[in-house]
């Protein structure tokens, strides 16, 4: 019957003919216009010249003497590579996103494991508790860390009180604070896919491992963790990709010099009003992120196919 069911799983007749196109068109057009076209425009503007006008960029297309002139200005891209502050920003963003993802994984995996192996009643409460913070305001959760990390903040007060330090430590406006902020804000997005993967683990495989003489630690590393790779990839991408472009966290917790790329785009746009340069930076960032994004999608598709 299995084989057969598969075949029957062609869509039911209900969506055929004009209805099909009616259903497709609204979401398709909406996303085409408001999501896809903007990327073409970003690409276009990244080749424009910054001018002081409204809007502050030159037009690529000029029409002179019955001729269409297209001026591609690659200065924006050249600027990115000439001035190594941009390059450093990219590299630093990638590094911080990578390390934050790693920390998230290291904290998230044990927690996800603990939730997934609890009794069902506890499990649901725990899941709820993990998700709950992300339903409150992201901004406010990041803000909370200012009060904790600042010179007169909770941690310094505590450390001074127990006599571990004499002088308050500088946490705020360091990379350390940014790491904490990112890990804190994105941890739920790591835990949930990991939880889903761990809950699905086939324990008979682990038992077979024990049966064949594998020690607990070996079983965990060789048999348990590989079964959760899908969740690891999904969780890591969910943290890594947005973390690369993170703006709020470095802005609030990081130092003035922590020029992560998201912040650079923001500043080029809002402070310097150099829209073409901001577009060029965004274009490059998008290209860099293409790899993890595609990886993520492939993994998702595999997970969905395998999960059924």
């Amino acid at each position: 019957m299995k084989r057969f069911m598969q075949r029957i799983k062609t869509p039911p007749k209900q969506l055929a003919g004009w209805r099909k196109y009616a259903v497709i068109s609204l979401p398709y057009l909406w996303n085409f216009l408001f999501f896809f076209v903007p990327f073409l425009i970003i690409l276009k503007i990244s080749f424009a010249e910054s001018i002081t006008a409204q809007p502050p960029f030159s037009s690529l297309f000029t029409y002179e003497d019955d001729k269409l002139n297209i001026t591609l200005n690659i200065y924006n891209y050249l600027a990115l590579f000439e001035d190594d502050t941009y390059l450093m920003s990219y590299l630093k963003s990638l590094k911080m996103a990578f390390l934050s993802t790693l920390f998230c994984l290291l904290i998230g995996y044990p927690v996800a494991w603990a939730i997934a192996t609890s009794k069902p009643a506890i499990r649901n409460v725990m899941l709820m508790l993990v998700v709950l913070p992300s339903w409150t305001s992201f901004l406010i959760r990041v803000y909370a860390w200012i009060g904790i990390l600042k010179k007169e903040g909770v941690i310094n007060n505590f450390l001074m009180a127990i006599g571990a330090i004499d002088e308050p430590l500088q946490f705020l406006q360091t990379d350390f604070a940014v790491y904490i902020g990112i890990v804190y804000a994105y941890l739920p997005f790591m835990i949930l896919p990991l939880y889903t993967a761990i809950v699905r683990v086939d324990y008979t495989i682990i038992e077979a491992g024990y049966d064949l003489g594998c020690k607990p630690v070996g079983c965990f590393l060789k048999l348990f963790v590989p079964q959760t790779f899908g969740g690891i990839i999904a969780g890591s991408m969910l943290v890594f990709i947005p973390a690369v472009g993170e703006y709020v966290i470095p802005e609030l917790l990081g130092g003035k010099d922590s020029n992560l790329i998201g912040r650079v785009i923001w500043m080029e746009y809002f402070n310097n009003r150099d829209w073409p340069l901001a577009s060029a930076i965004a274009t490059i960032m998008l290209l860099v992120l293409m790899i993890p994004i595609i990886w993520f999608y492939k993994n998702q598709r595999k997970e969905l196919a395998g999960g059924r």
């Binding site: 019957m1 299995k2 084989r3 057969f4 075949r7 029957i8 039911p12 007749k13």
Partner: protein
């Protein structure tokens, strides 16, 4: 309940000539050729084909189903029976061919305009509606008056003995009750044809046997024509008047339950329905005095009293049902006390499977062929019956043999 006697004699053969040619065995009585003349054809399927890409799920099928009949499509998974049913319901569009209902072409009529209703394997009860609302749903689509709908729903509930459950939701019902509701819902519109997709598929074994009888009772009391799909041969044989055996999108044999069991037209049917011993053989001679067949598995000839009407020297299969083989420890004799010279074999009991009501004996012949035979466990203490490693004689009546050509 459906016993064979309660039905019209059921040796109907609708796929006619070639079936007849292949079936060359004897019958105790010659098969009554009877397409029920008093019944008129209701559903006619003509050259129906459904292809999925290169796969032919249903391959050029022809079938006539008569008014008031219960017809079963029987086959293993992926044989095309469900696709055929779904084409009857209108959920699949045939690649070619046509479906006529009451002489009207239904082939491209959408499901919601066909006077045909289906009981789904999963029952497909609407989870957000009560039993009553479920049953009324189809009637509401016909824009019947409220009073009429209520009356009809009540009647249906009564029919399936679910009056007290009218206001429950599907998840508050047991499996058997859900089935009744599904049945009531599909009967409420008084369809010309009722389609049943694996009607017992979602029930456990005990309930299944009970519901089989009940379902047939209800369907017969309503008098609706019924086409069912099943992979369970027992279900098909007990519930249907005619059974079509399907394989790879084609009908292999169509006939009454007794016919397909006792007169299979090919090795596939013989092996598919029940168990069977097949002997690869050669036809030595055959004329009006009888036929002589020699099998490489048997030391002795198989002699039949009838003319199998095939060319001498032809390769044939002799099919013998296990329960039709006698197993003895003494040399078999005929009714006159004379020792047999044909239709017997000598072997050693290799294995016995005790099933409770019967025991299945696996007997190894000299040729190495294992023959299966059964004995009813009449005696509680198994006195005098052959046991492991006994030398035994197997014998059979000439009429028990069915000669098949492929």
């Amino acid at each position: 309940m459906v016993t064979e006697n309660s039905k019209v004699p059921d040796n109907t053969k609708s796929n006619g000539a070639n079936v007849e040619k292949r079936r060359v065995s004897t019958d105790i009585k010659p098969p009554v050729k009877n397409t029920p003349k008093d019944r008129k054809p209701l559903l006619v399927i003509k050259d129906l084909t459904k292809a999925y890409d290169a796969n032919l799920a249903v391959n050029n099928v022809n079938l006539t189903i008569y008014e008031g009949e219960i017809f079963a499509l029987l086959g293993s998974s992926g044989c095309g029976k469900s696709t055929l049913l779904r084409m009857l319901a209108g959920f699949e569009t045939p690649t070619s061919g046509a479906i006529y209902l009451d002489g009207q072409d239904m082939t491209n009529v959408p499901p919601y305009k066909r006077p045909v209703n289906m009981m789904f394997q999963s029952y497909a009860l609407f989870p957000h509606m009560t039993v009553e609302q479920n049953i009324a749903f189809g009637l509401k689509q016909d824009k019947l008056r409220k009073a009429e709908i209520n009356a009809r729903v009540e009647k249906m509930l009564k029919l399936v003995h679910m009056e007290e459950y009218a206001h429950r939701k599907p998840h508050q019902l047991s499996g058997g009750q859900r089935q009744r509701v599904a049945l009531a819902r599909s009967l409420a519109k008084q369809p010309r044809v009722l389609l049943l997709d694996e009607p017992m598929g979602a029930l456990d074994k005990k309930l299944r046997e009970q519901m089989r009888l009940e379902l047939v009772d209800i369907v017969e009391s309503v008098g609706v024509t019924c086409v069912m799909v099943t992979h369970d041969q027992e279900e098909a044989m007990t519930m249907a008047e005619r059974v079509a055996i399907m394989d790879r999108g084609e009908f292999i044999q169509i006939g009454g339950p007794r016919e397909i069991y006792e007169n299979p037209n090919c090795c596939f049917t013989a092996e598919f329905i029940g168990s069977v011993n097949l002997f690869e053989s050669t036809l030595i001679t055959s004329d009006h005095t009888g036929s002589i067949i020699r099998s490489k598995d048997l030391e002795n000839e198989i002699r039949l009293d009838i003319d199998v009407d095939l060319a001498d020297g032809m390769e044939v299969f002799v099919a013998l049902r296990p329960e039709k083989i006698y197993i003895e420890r003494t040399f078999p004799v005929d009714e006159n006390g004379k020792e047999l010279t044909a239709n017997y074999a000598i072997g050693v009991v290799e294995n016995i499977a005790y099933m409770g009501d019967i025991s299945i004996y696996y007997v190894r012949l000299k040729s190495g062929k294992i023959v299966i035979t059964t004995l009813p466990n009449v005696d509680r203490f198994n006195v005098g019956l052959p046991t492991w490693d006994d030398q035994v004689y197997l014998s059979w009546d000439p009429e028990s043999c069915v000669t098949l050509t492929f």
